[in-house]
């Protein structure tokens, strides 16, 4: 089965799904609401309160990528469901029995994750661009904010690959969501604070992914955070490859 056929197969599974269309519409709406919440952003500082134009060019690229990163948990849950429903309905077993090699099954799912990352990026870029055009241009707190248009898809893909791996191991939706959210929001932050040194902690998966699009709002308060892009980029690229390989390995060993 050629690569194009693999994409056609995954499209045949997903594109007629009303659930997918509704989920993406809700996701786009939530991203829009998250961006709208930045319209009247104000910070209380010791010297008084300041109002910032968080939706103005060029900062809107960074700000939108950051807030969308939180809304993305909806996307990750949907991705987990896409993986675990194949186990629940035993459709992955039927795919394998019908002649789809296990490795190609996982490659198809990786393509789906890449597709989700691209769709998410298109939605965020379109909404951020629209908000920027609407608001105008202001002084930049982050001179290279446009680079987050490129970093955001990589961050999203990395989390989606983690979701693919977790869904493949957990097999059940509830357990997969618990593991994914528990690891990224609870377990890893605790490991970073309590177990690992700062040097090692920033190489953990979620830390590396998050560092690609760091919190932009410190800059508005005049705080400068030492920030290197090289290490998170390399770490994330390695994790994406490792998670893909690990998912293939696990799926090839599983009884379906």
């Amino acid at each position: 089965m050629a690569t194009t056929n693999l994409l056609a197969l995954e499209a045949a599974k997903l594109s007629p799904s009303r659930e997918l269309r509704v989920s993406l519409a809700v996701y786009a709406l939530l991203v829009a609401l998250a961006l709208a919440s930045l319209r009247a952003l104000a910070f209380e500082l010791p010297g008084g309160s300041i109002r910032v134009s968080a939706l103005a060019f060029p900062d809107v690229w960074h700000n939108a990528a950051y807030v969308a990163g939180w809304v993305n948990y909806l996307l990750y849950v949907f991705a987990l469901q896409t993986v675990t429903h194949e186990y629940q309905f035993r459709t992955n077993r039927q795919n394998v029995i019908d002649g789809l090699p296990r490795r190609r099954y996982v490659l198809g799912k990786i393509a789906v994750m890449a597709g989700f990352a691209l769709i998410s990026s298109a939605i965020v870029t379109a909404l951020a661009g629209t908000a920027g055009v609407w608001t105008g241009t202001a002084a930049a707190s982050e001179p290279l904010a446009i680079r987050f248009v490129a970093l955001y898809p990589l961050q999203t893909l990395a989390y989606l690959m983690l979701a693919l791996f977790v869904g493949t191991i957990a097999r059940r939706t509830g357990l997969a969501v618990l593991l994914f959210v528990g690891y990224t929001l609870v377990a890893e932050p605790m490991l970073r604070d309590l177990v690992f040194s700062h040097t090692l902690a920033r190489h953990l998966p979620s830390a590396a992914f998050t560092a690609l699009v760091p919190n932009p709002f410190f800059a508005y308060a005049g705080m400068r955070v030492a920030y290197s892009l090289t290490a998170p980029l390399v770490d994330t690229a390695i994790y994406v490859c490792l998670l893909g390989a690990a998912t293939i390995w696990v799926f090839e060993k599983q009884d379906l």
């Binding site: 089965m1 056929n5 056609a8 197969l9 045949a12 599974k13 007629p16 799904s17 009303r18 659930e19 309905f89 035993r90 459709t91 077993r93 039927q94 795919n95 394998v96 029995i97 019908d98 002649g99 789809l100 060993k253 009884d255 379906l256």
Partner: protein, 237 residues
Amino acid sequence: MNVLETAGLSKRYGRVQALRSLDLAVPQGSVFGILGPNGSGKTTALGIVLGAIHPDAGRYAWSAGAPGAAHPRIGSLLEVPAFYPALSGTENLVVVARIRGCGVEGIDEALAQAGLFERRHSPVATYSLGMRQRLAIAAARLGAPDVVVLDEPGNGLDPEGIADVRGAIRRLATGRVTVILASHVLDEVQKLCTHVAVLKHGRLLAAGDIDAVVAGAARLEDAYMALTHGHDEPPRA
């Protein structure tokens, strides 16, 4: 010429030995019944030869029969119908056709034969169990397979549906398609199968031409009871 041969296939789930050193040979063009009570290892054996389950030991080999063909085209229904519930019957068969590399032209005809043409655009989630079972059998037959594997195909079907399935199996058999049929319904196996294997607690008790297995008994049921008598203790690892 055998289309499938297994040697020493074994599988254990925890402390339960689901399959114990299974040796089978399925002749090409036969209707091969795998008979046994629930938990006898029928589905595990079929899951292994279909590539869904990894055996702990042993090996199996499919033979296409046709010169130059490495592997036969196999259609199957294993245990329960497995479909994407949000997709329609047609859309699910498109998924099957894409994986098998066969055209989608035969889908409408397959749905009509299964009596599902009127509901072809309805989501499978709205189908009854019997309708799903018929859709699964239609999927198994899609793309003119060389071998059709059916695991308890009568499950969930009304008497008319069961009769339809039996008719379909007979038509497949006359078309030189090898049919492997797992069932615990003795009457069904006796009416349809040319060859039979009897399993209990993962152990092969008898296998061969159905007349040879029935031997002097009046019915397959009598032969089955005689074979399985004294094998009530499940083998432990």
